[in-house]
């Protein structure tokens, strides 16, 4: 398949607010993204022309924002709505190897849905992780440095070399990735063994560091994880906000090359065009 034939579903509900940048990131690389409201997939309150089917798309992208006002927990309502009507479609989508991306609120939704970390199977019944309130109890909006630790499983980061430090901005109040306290050591080991840890927050030297380098206090400084197949990927920071170099805070000193976020979308589109 050519990249120009790759159809991307950028899914939104009320409160989603990063769909435009997500849409443009795929469009600028020549793919065919579409902003789709959840109701278009469930078929409620829409005309027959507006109705869409998840299976018509090759990539599903859940953008950031404050879906449903972050009520109950960030991402919980969006996840519940998807789970109630689209469970089977979602499982089929993931099983067929199609990539799913969740950024910021999208990551929170994937975790609440049970699509991440998906320790056993495709989608867990109850969440196996949580993105809790930042240690600072504040909304943290800052450039963050991420070191790629994934050894190659994640289809969204194949174009980023291992150990490379990327500047991807964070903007969230609930980004502290946590696992159940009783099983944390076991889960972390499994994630490591399965190559599911993709990014860690680091300082400019590439060392694991505390606040403010890690904006939220996440377990082991983890910023992003994927499922065992590497096709479902979620992270708190926003690659779509640094598609161009001039979005970087140091762009006048380092003006050359693309923005650090571009490689995520290039990787996903390369995977989709070659494998799907």
């Amino acid at each position: 398949m050519k990249i120009s034939q790759v159809k991307v579903c950028v899914l939104r509900i009320e409160g989603t607010n990063c769909e435009e940048e997500m849409f443009l990131s795929f469009k600028r690389l020549g793919a065919k993204p579409e902003k789709v409201h959840l109701k278009q997939l469930t078929g409620t309150d829409v005309t027959p022309e507006e109705k869409r089917s998840l299976s018509d798309y090759h990539i599903l992208a859940l953008p950031g924002g404050f879906s449903a006002g972050d009520y109950v927990r960030a991402g919980a309502i969006f996840a519940a709505r998807m789970k109630s009507r689209l469970s089977e479609d979602l499982v089929d989508f993931v099983k067929s190897g199609k990539p799913v991306l969740g950024i910021c609120n999208g990551f929170q939704i994937l975790v609440e849905l049970g699509l991440l970390p998906a320790m056993s199977g495709v989608m867990s019944d109850v969440p196996e992780a949580v993105l809790g309130t930042n240690d600072s109890a504040r909304f943290e909006c800052r450039p963050t440095l991420l070191k790629k630790v994934n050894r190659g499983s994640c289809v969204f980061t194949t174009k980023i070399p291992v150990d490379k430090i990327s500047m991807i901005p964070s903007a969230h109040a609930e980004g502290k990735l946590m696992f159940s306290m009783e099983n944390q050591t076991k889960i972390l080991k499994e994630l490591e063994d399965n190559d599911q840890i993709v990014f860690k927050y680091v300082d400019p030297e590439g060392s694991i560091a505390g606040y403010p380098w890690c904006p939220n206090g996440a377990t082991d400084n983890i910023a992003g994880i994927c499922n065992r197949e590497g096709t479902v990927f979620g992270m708190m920071p926003h690659p779509e906000r640094v598609f161009f170099r001039y979005s970087h805070p140091d762009w006048t000193r380092n003006p050359d090359g693309p923005g650090d976020g571009r490689a995520f979308f290039e990787s996903a589109l390369e995977y989709a065009s070659k494998k799907l």
Binding site: A80, V126, E128, G132, A137, M181
Partner: protein, 79 residues
């Protein structure tokens, strides 16, 4: 009608930045002797049906949406 009061709190040992920040702000306002502040979320769910039936359904609601078992403990009181 039965009213189910659902109390969702963080499990023991899970950090509670909201509680800690509230404690700090209260101390800054001059309140003394505060031992701890804990944030808790309460939902009231009104439903028709027998207490037993409602209790069971609300428990399912907690598992499916209201609480995240990774960090939350919840309790249901029927009124």
């Amino acid at each position: 009608m039965v009213v189910a009061e659902v109390r969702v709190e963080l499990k023991k040992g899970v950090a509670d930045p909201e509680g800690k920040n509230t404690l700090k702000a209260l101390e800054l306002l001059g309140f003394e002797g505060i031992k701890n502040v804990k944030s808790v979320k309460v939902f009231e769910i009104e439903m028709d049906g027998s207490s037993k039936d409602v209790g069971k359904k609300v428990d399912d609601m907690c598992r499916k949406l209201i609480a995240n078992p990774v960090i939350h403990d919840y309790s249901v009181t029927l009124k």
